[in-house]
């Protein structure tokens, strides 16, 4: 089952690699890139937007680790698509007892939206900030505090004030002033409190995937590009740099998998460990790896890598964008540090070893 899904995902994403690159506008400041035609239809046909749901919830019972590996794989092929966002939005809906949705969905922790009960449901007024793929989303999941407690709201498309990140992915402000039907609002499940971490979980997977592609691209370049009569990869100075790149890529990958496992364990309810710590650590580590690695890749690939025609920037711009989304390194370092210090020196090691060693699912 797992293998089949991975294989079909590999086929799907690799087919869209070039399209995603071609869709990047020439000007970084211009506008967001459109999704390559046909991509989302194929993603839906494969069932990937439901990959985090249990069979009871309408999914296909994939372990969460494998579902998140799809997000990593898409990033590895530099395929821009709101797959992770839709997966998480559907998961949140399912946890709230709502049905998964058709089409693109997204979520955000960052908003100034109020919900007020009215006769026919809820009046939703205000703004959502930096919603990934907000303009394309048919459903946006948010957690809103109301006088009746924290609610999950499944919002329809809002009025988009377009904005985008460094790699032309939409990060829109969505403006609302509408009445939601009663069934679009429910008590918020606990998972909703961690929207920022859920975003961080996705970005950690994305960075890990993009880094693995970056390593491949840079090593291939170093093996092909000749200067002084030999491939530049034969020079020790280059080799030492690429070894650092490999180490950072490995660490980001291991961190992303650690986060995915911790999240899977938490979803399955078979651990006391705090998955949030693993996700925050993974995001932080991935962000650090992203910065170091992008710098090395640009140094090794040099001038051609700085040109728009060469595909390096499709990867490095993602890394620079994603490391700052859903909490930068500084944000998560501070959060983890406060958690650690609160327990004192004696509690530090027990906290680090709290995700107990466990075998693969």
């Amino acid at each position: 089952m797992d293998r089949m899904i991975a294989d079909s995902a590999e086929r799907l994403f690799s087919a869209y690699r070039e399209h995603s690159f071609a869709a990047l506008p020439a000007q970084a400041g211009a506008d967001a890139a459109p999704l390559p035609a046909g991509l989302w239809a194929e993603i839906e046909e494969a069932g990937f937007p439901l990959a985090l749901l249990s069979e009871d919830e309408g999914g296909f019972g994939l372990p969460a680790e494998s579902a998140l590996a799809l997000v990593r794989m898409a990033a590895e092929h530099a395929v821009a698509a709101p797959l992770g966002e839709t997966m998480i939005a559907n998961l949140l809906l399912a946890r709230a007892g709502l049905d998964p949705v058709e089409g693109i969905a997204s979520f955000t922790a960052d908003h100034a939206l109020t919900l007020t009960p009215v006769a026919s449901g809820w009046q939703a007024t205000g703004r959502l900030h930096a919603v990934p793929y907000g303009r394309m989303a048919q459903t946006i999941v948010v957690r809103v505090k109301t006088a009746e407690g924290a609610k999950l709201a499944a919002l329809p498309a809002g009025t988009a004030l377009p904005a985008h990140n460094l790699v032309a992915e939409p990060q829109d402000t969505l403006v609302y002033d509408l009445t939601l039907p009663a069934e679009a609002v429910t008590d918020a499940p606990a998972l909703c409190e961690e929207m920022l971490l859920l975003g961080a979980l996705l970005r950690a997977q994305g960075v890990a995937g993009a880094l693995s592609a970056l390593l491949g691209l840079t090593v291939d370049y170093a093996n092909e590009r000749k200067q002084f009569g030999r491939p530049i990869g034969k020079f020790q100075a280059i080799q030492q740099e690429l070894a650092v790149l490999a180490g950072e890529t490995a660490a980001a990958g291991a961190g992303a998998e650690m986060a995915a496992r911790a999240f899977a364990d938490a979803l399955a309810g078979n651990t006391e460990a705090d998955w949030r710590l693993a996700v925050a650590a993974a995001k932080l580590r991935a962000g650090e790896a992203a910065g170091k690695s992008a710098a090395i890749a640009h140094q090794v690939i040099a001038a051609i890598g700085f040109s728009h025609e060469y595909p390096l920037h499709a990867l490095t711009r993602r890394l620079w964008a994603w490391r700052d989304e859903c909490g930068s390194e500084a944000h998560w370092a501070r959060w983890i540090g406060e958690t650690c210090c609160a327990r004192g020196a004696e509690g530090f090691w027990p906290l680090l070893t709290q995700p107990e060693i466990r075998g693969a699912a």
Partner: protein
């Protein structure tokens, strides 16, 4: 790229790590006691205490993965991992048995004769038998294959001449696993073999080399017409290079490669207190994240070793990243505290800082220099 993949451990390899962990913590709390303070802990894995090692042996926490027939306990590599990381985090005095348990025992198990296994392994598991590593020489450090120590065939065995250098705790060890040349120098890799050397053999001289803190861990070990029996050969003649490479995977990937400065981290957190300011929280959080990820990578390597795979590349990556972090810790501590290091004090932050600063240069040298490790990684990437 497979060489940078760190797959999760196999499900069947893990029994009940939490219970074992609790048991080890309780043992360490009782055994080390309240007076075992930060300066003792900061010795990391260089604290040498044979009595402590024997107690670990009695607990069944040495030679854990060895077959019962050789005094082992047939526990999983992950069980061993739990014990090892708890010992390191507590800064327990593990140096006496460390090398024997970490790499000599698996090497002898895989490559030794039945007689060698019977002779050595039960003693390692009991905490009675200590090893040192005979790899580096005066003219071959990073260039290990340039080893010149020679073992010549005699009627009864081998005659050994040469010098080994930087040999940690040779002066306290019973045996050395020696890498020596048995073939021509031109055959760089094929001409090497490993030997199991009883360090009480006549002709061996062990001389101390003090480190920059003035401590005696390292030695020069010279061999002058040392006669060893034929059965001192460990593994196949001419297979020494291959065997050493396997040994290094055990040597490079463990939690000893990223926890060397752990006592200083603890001291730093104690110094900061439970209400860190913004910068302090960020610094501690970053260290914690790095440690968590390194630990996952190291556990993954333990799992690969247990499955009989060869994670040499992954082990090298763990060691390179681990040493970077270990060496960064004293610099980070300085940036936060404005405390001058004071060697010789007992259990003060300044003393722990002093110890760690003076130990740190070795972190990216022992077990292979940073440059060598990165060369190995580059080879794995297909660049050489």
């Amino acid at each position: 790229m497979n060489m940078i993949a760190f797959p999760p451990v196999a499900a069947e390899a893990v029994a009940d790590p939490a219970a074992l962990r609790a048991e080890v913590r309780a043992f360490l709390a009782a055994e080390l006691g309240p007076d075992y303070g930060p300066t003792l802990r900061a010795r990391s894995w260089s604290g040498h205490d044979p009595a402590f090692s024997r107690k670990l042996g009695q607990q069944g926490w040495l030679g854990m993965t060895l077959p019962r027939a050789y005094g082992g306990h047939e526990r999983s590599a992950l069980d061993r991992y739990v014990v090892v990381e708890e010992l390191l985090a507590a800064g327990a005095p593990v140096a006496a048995h460390w090398i024997a348990d970490r790499q000599s025992a698996p090497l002898i198990l895989h490559n030794g004769t039945e007689a060698q296994r019977q002779l050595i392994l039960p003693k390692i598991a009991a905490g009675d038998c200590y090893f040192c590593i005979g790899m580096s020489e005066p003219d071959s450090g990073s260039d290990l294959a340039a080893a010149r120590t020679r073992a010549e065939r005699t009627e009864s065995g081998f005659r050994i001449n040469g010098t080994k250098l930087w040999t940690t705790y040779a002066h306290e060890a019973h045996y050395m696993i020696l890498l020596a040349r048995t073939g021509p120098a031109e055959d760089r890799h094929g001409g090497l073999s490993q030997f199991l050397i009883d360090l009480s053999t006549p002709g061996i001289t062990i001389s101390p080399i003090l480190d920059i803190a003035g401590d005696h861990h390292m030695n020069e070990v010279s061999f002058r017409d040392v006669e060893v029996p034929a059965d001192a050969l460990l593994g196949q003649e001419g297979e020494g290079w291959k065997q050493v490479m396997g040994e290094l995977a055990f040597e490079r990937s463990g939690p000893d490669r990223f926890l060397s400065s752990f006592a200083l981290i603890n001291a730093l957190i104690a110094q900061i207190g439970t209400g860190p300011d913004r910068l302090e929280a960020q610094v501690i959080g970053r260290i914690a994240a790095h440690l968590m990820v390194l630990r996952q990578m190291s556990i993954s390597v333990a799992g690969m070793l247990a499955r009989g795979e060869n994670p040499a590349q992954q082990a090298t990556i763990v060691k390179d990243l681990g040493a970077l972090l270990e060496q960064e810790i004293p610099e980070i501590a300085r940036a936060l505290t404005d405390t001058a290091p004071r060697p010789g004090e007992r259990d003060t932050f300044a003393a722990v800082l002093a110890q760690t600063i003076l130990a740190a240069p070795s972190f990216s040298l022992r077990g292979g220099t940073r440059q060598i490790l990165r060369g190995i990684i580059a080879r794995g990437l297909g660049l050489r």
